[in-house]
């Protein structure tokens, strides 16, 4: 996982506004992708993105500069989504996924959008994070471990099962067309 340079990181920790903006620009795309996929709702994801970086700003002084800033920020985002999910219990993916998620893309078919929606609707928010963090953004198991608190071994097993179930779904639903 890429990290912002140390000078900007230290300046942000010291309270430099420009450095904080640079930090937001650097890390927000990943946070956005994860919260968007975990919640499936654009408005909710926007709120959570905002909440994440407000919390980052509040806690930045306490950040131990020797650890990875990326996983620290992702942990804040992850916890914000979990807290929000527990609080409102309204992120039911089959309801929350809307057309916003699929706007502006080039490659896929409607069937594949539907498939992603169906698959994600059956997963817990923790599993959605695992899937996106590992398969889309390429975080290592150790990085995901430091975000979620689950051991790398457990995560590896969970992801293996997840991918197996996804593969099985494709086998079970042969009507889905190949888009490319």
């Amino acid at each position: 996982m890429e990290e912002i340079d140390d000078i900007t990181k230290l300046r942000a920790v010291k309270g430099d506004k420009n450095a904080f903006k640079a930090l937001y620009d650097f890390y927000s795309p990943f946070v956005w992708r994860v919260v968007m996929r975990m919640t499936g709702d654009r408005n909710m994801a926007t709120e959570l993105l905002q909440e994440t970086f407000v919390n980052v700003h509040k806690s930045l002084r306490k950040f131990n500069a020797e650890s990875a800033l990326s996983t620290w920020i992702y942990r804040i985002a992850y916890n914000a989504v979990l807290a929000s999910t527990n609080r409102r219990n309204r992120f039911r993916s089959h309801l929350a996924y809307n057309d916003d998620v699929y706007m502006g893309r080039e490659t896929d078919s409607y069937e594949m959008k539907d498939m992603v929606e169906k698959v994600l609707s059956t997963l817990s928010v923790e599993d959605k994070f695992l899937l996106v963090a590992r398969e889309v953004d390429g975080l290592s198991y150790e990085e995901i471990e430091s975000v979620t608190g689950s051991s790398a071994g457990t995560l590896r097993t969970r992801l293996h099962r997840l991918k197996e179930s996804i593969r099985k779904r494709f086998e079970d639903e042969p009507e889905i067309k190949e888009a490319v």
């Binding site: 506004k17 904080f20 903006k21 937001y24 620009d25 927000s28 795309p29 956005w32 992708r33 968007m36 996929r37 654009r42 926007t46 993105l49 905002q50 970086f53 407000v54 700003h57 509040k58 916003d100 998620v101 699929y102 706007m103 502006g104 893309r105 490659t107 896929d108 594949m112 959008k113 498939m115 992603v116 698959v119 899937l131 996106v132 398969e135 889309v136 996804i166 593969r167 494709f170 889905i176 190949e178 888009a179 490319v180």
Partner: protein, 98 residues
């Protein structure tokens, strides 16, 4: 590209980040900073006020006379005002056998 690959490609597709989020974050962060600074200033004022009044109180205690000194001063005062004469007469009467 097989369907599974397409699935993971699809998974990575999300709408563009909404604009204006950073501005909201910056506003809330600035508000938080000013509230925190105000609370710190209030706490510092309270500490200083408590320290000031504590110091005054300590000085008051410091200038209060010790009982022994107060007794001595009372004796001197009685001597100067003649208030101790009656006691003195009694003492002399006792010693002189009057």
């Amino acid at each position: 590209m097989n369907r599974e690959d397409l699935f993971y490609e699809e998974l990575s597709q999300v709408p563009e980040m909404p604009s204006g989020v950073y501005e909201k974050v910056a506003r809330r962060a600035a508000l938080h900073t000013s509230v925190r600074n105000s609370l710190l200033a209030l706490a510092a004022s309270l500490i200083m006020a408590l320290g000031f009044f504590g110091l005054i109180d300590k000085r008051t205690q410091d200038v209060a006379l010790q009982p022994e000194v107060a007794d001595e001063l009372q004796i001197i005062s009685d001597y100067l005002n003649g208030d101790d004469l009656e006691q003195e007469f009694e003492n002399y009467a006792f010693i002189g056998g009057f």
